[in-house]
Every structure is written in C-alpha cells, then in structure tokens.
C-alpha cells in the first residue's frame, strides 16, 4: 500500500542575479517516486542536489512547480491550504537537523504542540507525552527548557513531538546532522524503533552512508534526478558497502 507517490515532480526556483536578470534553477527534474507504508527510505546525495527540497515537497511544506504528489491516494494539488495543514499536523511528523524547538516553551509543551494545535483532550495529551517521553528516555527532562538540553536530547524531544499525534509518516531532514556519533546513533536507534516497532513509514534525508544503510531502501539523488535505488533486501550484507561506494561516486 503506497502512502506517498510523486509523478513527474519538478521544482524550479527563480533567482535574481546581480545584473537584475532572472534565472531559473531547476532543483528537481521529473522525479517519480513511491513509498509504501512501513518503509524506511533514506535519501542521499551531495549538497545542493535537491534532497531537502524534495523532503519539503513530500511534507507539503512547499508546492511543486509541476507534477503531482499523492498522499495516501489523495492528489495534494487539489487539497486546500488548511487540509494540507491538517495532514501535516495529524499524519506527518517532522524531524529537523536544527530541532526547531521553541525556546519559550518547556520540553513537555514543545512535544505537545501538535496535539495542542489539534485541540486534543488534556488528559490524553498528558498520557501521551508521558508514554513517549518514557519510551525515548527524556521523561526526566520534560520541565526543562530546550536550551538546557544536549543535541541528542533535543532531537529525541523533536522525535517525540513528531510522534505525538501518531502520524503514519515521519520525515526526517538530516536528523543526525548536528549530533556527535553517539547521539546520532541513539537518534537512529530511535528512528529504527519507530519504523520497526511502531510501524511508521520514515523518509530520511542524510549525508551519512552508515546511517543511510540502516534504512531499508536508499534513494540516490544527483542533480535533481534519482540516480539509483538500493534495496537492503536485494543486497543483503553488501548493502552498506554498496551505499558507501555510491556515496563516494556522488
């Protein structure tokens, strides 16, 4: 069952140069892509190849220039702004490299934010935050401010926030990018757990071939196009080796 699908996806940006002439930058060029429910997909590519833009389009944060994105069979182009907001709030969880936690709120309220915005019941919120914080080992940090947390703790708080409304899809943009290898491993373990135990679909953008090899499928992007797709199922033990080889080629 396909949760996300893109057809002939194109994203261009218009830039105004120093000579006041506008030029079009073709970031994504005709991408066809599909993600099934329960999959863990890593998107790799060198800087500027369009990975983050692709993730923003999949998360309905940006609109494509052309082509279509289907979320659970719905053509997102036909959805209204608030319907897309509803999908982002209820059915998609976001994890960012920079965490994007509000310093004004404590960790608990940061995690609860999507639920608050969804008019959830207070008791349900209380139970849910306790459950998730316990699961990801940050229950002792709930009353702290984000700036008092380490990078790994912040990212785990962000993962809790992404999961709070029990979404089907998690979009992670370089979730380990700002972390040391140990914290990165903890975050990756958490994502694996979310995928395997909680059966959430994950799409993760990463630079790191090792973290990418923890996924089930690696999509390699080059110059706005899908260069290749590597499947753990097909490559078995040689999956990491292959991902690593491709990374050096990219």
């Amino acid at each position: 069952m396909c949760i996300l699908k893109t057809e002939h996806l194109i994203r261009n940006y218009t830039m105004t140069g120093a000579s006041a002439q506008t030029s079009t930058i073709h970031v994504l060029k005709d991408i066809d892509f599909e993600v099934k429910k329960g999959e863990f997909v890593a998107i790799m590519g060198k800087s500027g190849c369009g990975k983050s833009t692709f993730l923003k389009l999949l998360g309905m944060i940006e609109r494509p220039t052309a082509g279509a994105i289907y979320f659970d069979g719905m053509d997102t182009e036909e959805l209204w702004k608030d319907e897309l907001a509803d999908i982002r709030r209820r059915r998609i969880g976001f994890v960012f490299q920079d965490f994007y936690l509000l310093d004004s709120l404590n960790v608990r309220n940061n995690i609860l934010l999507p639920m608050i915005l969804d008019k959830a019941d207070s008791q349900v919120m209380k139970d849910k935050v306790a459950e998730l914080a316990g699961r990801f080992g940050i229950d002792h940090l709930l009353l702290k401010a984000p700036y008092e947390l380490s990078g790994g703790e912040k990212q785990r708080a962000a993962i809790c926030r992404a999961l709070i409304n029990d979404p089907e899809l998690i979009l992670a943009d370089e979730p380990t990018g700002n972390l040391d290898s140990r914290s990165g491993q903890i975050v990756m373990d958490a994502l694996k757990e979310i995928n395997e135990d909680m059966h959430k679909t994950i799409i993760m953008v990463t630079h790191d071939p090792y973290f990418a090899s923890l996924s089930k499928r690696v999509v390699l992007l080059k110059d706005g196009k899908i260069l290749d797709t590597l499947l753990r199922q097909e490559l078995g033990e040689g999956f990491y080796q292959k991902v690593f080889e491709y990374t050096t080629k990219l």
């Binding site: 000579s19 006041a20 702004k81 976001f94 709120l105 915005l117 959830a120 207070s122």
Partner: protein, 849 residues
C-alpha cells in the same frame, strides 16, 4: 447547461395569434380608391383584376411596390398562424415566430417607405399585437432564464459552502494549554515586542499631547483664524500631519522588524500544521495586545505631558493665555489618529503579513531584499534626487514643511541610487569588493530596510534641526511684545472722525500724531493659505498708504535715524512689513502679479502687486504697482503680524494724486500715546468708531478700525509662548524619534550582528579589529543622516536669515539660543550612538567568550 423546454406565455401568444389572424381576416387592411378592404378582399380584388400590374393605376410604382410587399405580410401572418397552431399543440418552434416577426417588420418598413395606399387599422394593429407578443414572450423567457441561472448559482454556492464546511471541519475547542502557549511565548519574547510597544507608546503619547494642545490652545488668544492659517491651530494641524507622517513610517519600520523577529516562530507553527485562521488569530492576539498596551501607556504618558504643559502655559504668561480644559474628545482624536497610523503602517507591511498568513510563504527563509540594479533606473533616480534637492534650494521661499519634504524626497532618491551604485561599483572589482566586504554585509540582504532607516533618521533630524529648531529659535529671539507696539492706539480715522480724535488729546491728555494716509487693498490678502482654497472666500489684504515724508516722520517719531532717499517713481512702492523675527516673510498678495522670487539673490523682490485705493468693493480700479524695495521694521506697530496693515510708502507726488483719487475711507493715520490710567477711557472713546465704520470690519474679520496695544500685547505674548511650547514639543518629539530609531535599528539587528561577529571571531579576527569594525558599521548608520541633516539645516538657515533680513545681532541671538539647542541635540545624538556602540561591543565580547 441544458436549455429549458418550457413554453413561456403560451396562452398569451395563442391569443395574440388569434387576434392577429382575426384582424387580418376581418378588419380593414387597406383603403384603395375609396374602398375599404380586408386582407382577403384585397387579394381577391388583385386576383380579379389579373394581377397587381393590372390592379394599380398605370405608372403608380409606389402602389405596385406596396401591394407586392403585401404578399410578404400575408406570408408572415400565415407563418404566425402556423406558429400559433404549433403552440396550441404545445410545440415550441420559436424560429417560426421570429421569421414571422421579421417578415412583418420588413413589410411595415416597405409600407412606410412606399405608402402606396391608405392603411386600414388592421395593418398597424397586426404589427402591434405581434410586437407586444414578442416583447412579453422575450421578457418572460429572459427573466425565467435569469432566475434559473440565479437559482443554479445559489445552489452551487450552497454546495461550495457545504464542501468547504466538510473539508475544513475542525470541531472542538483549543485546550487551555493553547492560551498558555501563546502567553508563555509572548512573555518569553518580550524583547521582540517591547520595541514595538515602545514605538506605539511614543506615537500615542505624541498624538495625545498634540490633540490635547490643540484643545488647550483653542481660545488662547482673542482672534483665532483657523481658515486663513494665521492662528496657532494651523501650526498644530500641520504639526499633527507631520506627527502622523512620522508615526506611520516609524511604526511601519518597527513593524517590519517585528514581523521578521516573529517569523521563525510562525514558520514553526506552520510546519507543525497550524490552521491559517488559528495562526491569524495568534498573530492578531499578539499584535492587538501590544497595541492596546501601547495605546494605554502612551495615553497615560501623554496625559502627564499635557498636565505639565498646561501647568506651564497657565502659569508663565501671567494669565495672558486662556487655556481651555481637556475633555474626552482629546483622547478620541488621539485614538482615531493612532488607528490611522496603524492602518497605514500595516498596509505598508501588508505583503509581509500575507507572507506570514500563508503557510507556504511562512516557511520560506527570510529573503534577500531587492537592490535596484538597472542603470537606467539608477541614473533616473539620481537625476530626480538632484533635481528635487536643487528645486528645494533654488525655489526656497520660507521655512515650510513642503520644502522640507521636497528636500527629503530628493535625499531618499539619492540614498537609494547612490547606495546601489556604490554596491555595484565595489562589486565590479575583486580588490574593491574584498576590501569592502565587511561593511557591505548588512547592505547585501537588508538594502531596503537600511535605506528606509537612513531616510527616516535623516527626516527626523532634518525636521528637528531645520523646521522646528528654526521656528523655536525665531520665537525665542523675537523682540519683546511692547517694543513691537510703540503706540497705545493706532487709528485709521475718517474725516468725520476728527472730533473723536481731537477729544483724545483734549480730554484724555493723549499725545496724538496724525499723518495723512490712504487705504490700499490687494485682491487676496497675505494670509491666504491652502486651507483658504477649500473655502471660496479669501478676504483681501488691507494696507496703509503713506507718503515718503510721512515715512521719514515716522522714523523720527520712533527715534530712529532718518532712512536714505527712497527715490520712488510713479506707481512705485516701498513696502514696510511690520512683523517680528518669528514670522515668515510675507507676500503682499497671493494672486498673480504679487511678489515673486528673485532667484539670483534668493530674496523676495516684490516685483509688482495688484493694488487699488480704498476697499475691494470701492469704485477705483486695480492697478499694477511696482514694489521697488521693502524692509521689515516696526513704525506704527505689529498690528496684524505683518499679514496686513503694513505701510506702503509712495512718493509725495504719487501720494497726493492717490489722496485726491481715493474713494473716501480713512484719511488720517493717528498714532496715540497716553498715560496708562487713561488707556481704558480712550478705548471707550474710540469704541463708537467700530460701529460707525462697521462695514470695514465686515470685509475682513481680522481688520479693526483701531488697534489697542494692551490686547495686542496679550495676544502676542500668549501666542509666542504657545508657539514656543508647541515647537518645543514637536522638536522634542523628533529628537525622541531619532534616538528611538537608532535604538530600534541596532536592537533588532543585534542577533545578526552577534552571529556575524562570532563568525569573525572564529575565523581569527582580532578583538580589536572586531571592535573597530562594529564601530565603523554602527557609526556608518548614524553619522550620514546627521551630516546630511546638519548640512541641509545650515544651508536653509542661511537662506532663511537672508530672506527674513535678520540683522547680525539677530543672528547672534539666534546662535546663542537655538544654536545652543541644536548643538545639544547633536551632542545628544552622538552620545547616544556612542552608548549604543559601547553596548554592542560589550555584547559582542560577551558573545564571543
């Protein structure tokens, strides 16, 4: 859309067909050779005669053509009847109907053209019935179509509403945590709001004070003339306009920074899936709360300021001024003006607001502001800027808001173009670029905001240092009121008033100087203002015409050295403008032929003026008088603040001719000096003259038949004191604005600056170099506006000194009073910037540690 198949007005159409058919068959159709024939009878007659050609008289082509066309009518009626039958059978063949209407129309046209025979009533009535049937049918069909479309539109709207409701269904209430989140966020980000609130406080405080002053000064002196711009309220109205203008741009400037600072939070909420209405509510809640706090605090602050002003005004002029009490209208006006400011400031930033509201816009990172790049545009902008500044200097006539705005517009154009050209120039060479890369960083992304900031700061400095400092200073150095009125009474007496004048010296021991005079008037006065253009009536200006001998006598009587020979010719005038240094140089008349500018010396030359003897309605003619020279001095008294009752000096011979030609009116200029105890008795003795010559005062409400010193002194003192308070307030307002703007700029830029200097620190830039660079950067944003404003202010001050003919002593006095205030202003601004730089350096050091 499927067309409707219903037949409209079917019974009516059938009835019409029956009537038409009946008329055609049985009613008279034509009258030929005295015989009245129905249509069948007509055809029968033609058939019997062997055709139309045989039926009509030989050569009667008109009758031939008409009868030939009758076949068309017959065809039309036959089709019409078929159409009727089909209607009875409930068949809708509208085309048949249209063909029959058309054919009958053709027949009628042909009949009207040829008129080959007389018509019976069936002929027009058939057409009339068909026409009515056509119109009613069409009307019903169309209205039915319109109604049907309307119903469908409504149905579609209902469906869309239902669809919208279904798709946007979001039941339930936000939990209490939602309000808590907003509140906590608001409290946490107070620094972002505080400047916004502070800006609002300043605006509302200024407006409250201005509105309150307007109320207090309503009755401050005896003759207030709002319409003609001579009064204090005119000054206030203009100042309020300037306060509004400054408030709008200051709020818009702060608002743009405020939006920028809140953008990251809004972006986060948007990504997390906040509904657009909820986001709008959140923005509005923060915005409205900030504004209400600002309004309330500003009004409290303004009220405190007003009470202070009221205390000073009521105390200092020794009760000369009549201070009106404050009422709720003061606050209502302030609130309305504040709302206007907010409305415009929000409109200026509307694009940013939309960007926030739009979920897709809000997630975009802050975009680089556009830098004007096209050469054509930049050259045009530079030329426009130079031209505007050039016009403001060469066309300078007096201290005016309009001139200041013109100058500032030129500065704005130049700031835009020169900043852009400079960036272009440095980018053109790598050597230059890398040398200037650090100071250029703030300009690359914040070009518009920086230009707007520099312009606003320049405007605040310029308004303070040029406009209001000069007005304040010129009032501070103005001669004492008593010196401006050397005589106790100035009477323009008629011949019949001689008895009254004689009694003054006889009964009240008054010293009366009498000089011959003629009344001279100009068409539209000197106090004519743009406000007067709104009303159709602008009163004429009245002056006192005297001979050169009298002019010399007046000098002598005043104890002054005798002036040089005026050498006046025929229809030449020497004007003596009687006003103090605080008033703008007056024109003698506002209409064409009045004073014009002499660009070479930049001083009014009063080339010529249209003038007549007597009052405007008197029978004499308007003539062009050449103004040979003028002076600003007090000879009889500052009776009308230099706006009227000035002295027009004519040659003795010219004066004699004028006196002979004068159509009545005052002929004697009486200057009365009396003992203080006799002042009111003389005033009483002169009072009847106002009734006797009531017509004079009716022409212009400002004009008096005689002027008493006491009342005028009261007016001058209270007005001058109020003007000092008023100009002082506006000067202080702009001082505060300038300080606030610099503070806002660097406060909002702090985060960017700290990040940048942290990066510099990481890249190995020594601390000393960092401190030097930040100093250079910050002073670069405060010194240029100050330098431009000071240079502009100095230039316009020199021009004004020249135009108002200030003596060296007056300039010295001015520099000792207003000059010191200006210097203090500069020191304050420099100290303030120094403090801001110091604070920023401290922050950078702390941040880098």
């Amino acid at each position: 859309m499927k067309p409707e198949n219903k037949i409209h007005a079917r019974p009516f159409s059938i009835l019409c067909v029956l009537i038409s058919a009946g008329l055609a068959l049985f009613a008279p159709w034509a009258v030929i050779r005295g015989n009245t024939l129905t249509l069948p009878e007509l055809f029968f007659a033609i058939f019997s005669a062997g055709g139309i050609e045989a039926f009509v008289d030989s050569g009667d082509t008109a009758a031939f053509a008409t009868l030939a066309m009758t076949y068309v009518a017959a065809l039309s009626l036959i089709l019409y009847v078929i159409y009727g039958i089909l209607l009875i059978l409930k068949k809708k063949v509208r085309l048949l109907g249209y063909i029959s209407y058309f054919l009958y129309f053709v027949y009628i046209c042909a009949y009207m053209t040829f008129q080959g025979h007389e018509s019976g009533f069936a002929l027009p009535f058939c057409g009339l019935v068909m026409l009515i049937e056509f119109m009613i049918f069409t009307y019903l069909e169309q209205s039915s179509e319109i109604n049907r479309n309307y119903r469908m539109l409504k149905q579609r709207e209902r469906e869309e509403r239902a669809e919208r409701k279904r798709r946007l269904y979001f039941p339930g209430k936000y939990p209490p945590d939602f309000v808590r989140v907003i509140r906590t966020n608001f409290k946490y980000n107070w620094k972002n709001y505080i400047l916004f609130i502070l800006c609002g406080i300043l605006c509302s405080a200024f407006l409250t004070v201005a509105s309150g002053m307007n109320r207090m000064l309503t009755d401050i002196h005896s003759a207030e003339d709002v319409v003609l711009g001579t009064g204090l309220q005119q000054i206030l109205y203009r100042s309020i306009g300037l306060i509004l203008f400054t408030g709008i741009f200051m709020t818009a400037f702060v608002f743009s920074y405020y939006i920028k600072s809140r953008m990251s939070d809004y972006r986060m909420f948007s990504v997390l899936g906040i509904r657009s209405a909820t986001l709008s509510f959140m923005i509005m809640a923060e915005y409205v709360t900030s504004l209400l706090i600002s309004l309330a605090c500003g009004m409290i602050l303004g009220t405190a300021g007003l009470f202070g002003l009221r205390f000073i005004l009521a105390k200092e002029p020794d009760g000369y001024a009549v201070i009106s009490s404050l009422g709720p209208d003061v606050y209502i006006i302030a609130i309305i003006a504040y709302c206007i400011i907010l409305l415009f400031a929000t409109a200026i930033n509307y694009e940013s607001y939309l960007q926030i509201r739009n979920a897709f816009g809000a997630i975009r990172s802050v975009q680089k502001e556009k830098i004007p790049q096209k050469w054509r545009w930049l050259i045009l902008l530079t030329l426009l800027g130079v031209d505007l500044i050039h016009s403001s200097i060469t066309g300078y006539e007096e201290v005016s808001i309009l001139n200041a705005v013109l100058f500032l517009l030129g500065i704005y154009c130049l700031l835009n173009s020169l900043a852009s050209l400079l960036l272009k120039w440095t980018s053109a060479s790598d050597r230059r670029y890398f040398k200037q890369v650090l100071p250029q960083i703030p300009w690359q992304y914040r070009f518009r905001k920086n230009v707007r900031y520099l312009f606003l700061l320049t405007a605040a400095h310029f308004f303070a240092l040029n406009l209001y400092l000069f007005n304040l200073g010129s009032n501070l150095i103005a001669a004492p009121a008593e010196d401006l009125l050397p005589y106790d009474f100035v009477v323009m007496a008629y011949q019949d008033d001689q008895d009254t004048i004689d009694r003054l010296s006889a009964e009240y021991e008054a010293d009366v100087l009498e000089y011959p005079m003629v009344r001279m008037t100009v068409p539209s006065g000197t106090s004519w203002d743009f406000m007067a253009s709104i009303v159709t009536y602008a009163p004429p200006g009245q002056y006192v015409g005297i001979s050169e001998s009298t002019y010399r006598d007046l000098y002598k009587a005043h104890g002054l050295a005798e002036p040089d020979d005026l050498d006046l010719g025929d229809h030449e005038i020497h004007a003596v403008i009687q006003q103090d240094s605080s008033f703008a140089r007056r024109k003698l008349d506002m209409t064409s032929g009045a004073s014009m500018q002499d660009p070479s010396v930049n001083r009014a030359s009063y080339d010529s003026v249209n003038m007549k003897l007597g009052r405007p309605q008197d029978p004499s003619d308007w003539e062009s008088w050449s103004v040979k020279s003028y002076e600003i001095s007090i000879l009889t008294g500052m009776l009308q603040r230099g706006a009227q009752e000035n002295l027009m000096v004519l040659s003795d011979e010219m004066f004699r001719q004028c006196a002979e030609a004068s159509p009545g009116g005052p002929s004697s200029l009486c200057l009365v000096t009396c003992a203080p105890e006799n002042y009111s008795r003389i005033d009483q003795a002169l009072l009847p003259l106002r009734t006797t010559h009531a017509d004079d005062e009716q022409v212009d409400m400002d004009i008096r038949v005689y002027y008493g010193k006491n009342q005028l002194v009261n007016d001058i003192i209270s007005e001058r004191y109020s003007k000092i308070a008023l100009y002082g307030f506006v000067f202080l307002m702009f001082t505060t604005c300038a300080l606030f703007l610099a503070y806002v700029k660097f406060s909002y830029d702090t985060e960017d600056i700290l990040n940048r200097y942290r990066l510099f620190s990481f890249t190995g830039m020594p601390e000393k170099e960092q401190m030097r660079t930040i100093g250079k950067e910050m002073w670069g944003f405060t010194l240029p506006p100050l330098i431009i404003s000071v240079a502009g202010a100095v230039l316009f001050h020199i021009l004004t000194f020249d135009i108002r003919m200030y003596s060296t002593g007056q300039i010295r006095d001015y520099l000792a009073s207003a000059g010191v205030i200006g210097l203090l202003y500069l020191i304050l601004q420099l100290l303030w910037t120094g403090w801001l730089v110091h604070q920023m350096r401290k922050k950078i050091r702390k941040n880098n540690r």
